[in-house]
Amino acid sequence: MEIILLILVFLMIVSAISALIFKDLMNAVIASCVVSLIASILFYFLQAPDVAMAEAAIGAALVTGIFVIAVKRTKRFEE
């Protein structure tokens, strides 16, 4: 059980660092969506099913949708 937890937390930190590094803003938005999804799984392991459902529905679907619409109406690349 601990190995799964270690792998999940490692993947979450790698996705957050790649949201820092990418220059194309669409890729950075998708990396932040992956961070939200893995946080939803960690909420389930901490015995909180209400919060896991809220984070999956709001953080992974709606926030990513709003970010993609905003990036489409401004510039796509950094600089």
Binding site: L20, S32, A39, L46, A48, V51, G59, E78
Partner: protein, 119 residues
């Protein structure tokens, strides 16, 4: 190995908070800064739920009629985090519309150039 299995959730939550803070302090593009703000929100919610966990406890729902009430995790941080997630999405939506308006007015989203411009 024992140290790692005890503190793995703290490392995850604080790792997210520090990476998000680094993005807000260093990056120049406005939408990158707002992405960093969203990562800080997720890290703080993870830390709050970690504080309410009790070892070998179960979720606070009486799904069967005969369930005993001992050994359940704390329900109060979960109620607070539910409110905090919804408030986070409201703040993010408003910040992104202000960014869209700034782009339409100045023509660029670079924070150093916007600070130098006059009226």
């Amino acid at each position: 190995m024992n140290f790692l299995s005890e503190y793995i959730y703290y490392i995850g939550a604080f790792g997210l908070i520090f990476i998000g803070l680094f993005i807000v302090l260093v990056k120049k593009n406005l939408i990158k800064v707002i992405i960093g703000l969203s990562i800080v929100d997720t890290g703080i919610n993870l830390f709050l739920i970690t504080l309410g966990y009790i070892k070998s406890g179960t979720a606070p729902i009486f799904s069967e009629p005969g369930l005993k009430a001992d050994n359940m995790v704390d329900p109060v941080p979960q109620a607070l985090v539910l409110t905090a997630i919804v408030i986070g999405v409201a703040v993010l939506a408003l910040a992104l519309t202000l960014a869209i308006k700034l782009y339409k007015h100045y023509g660029t989203l670079d924070l150093r150039k916007i600070k130098e411009q006059k009226w």
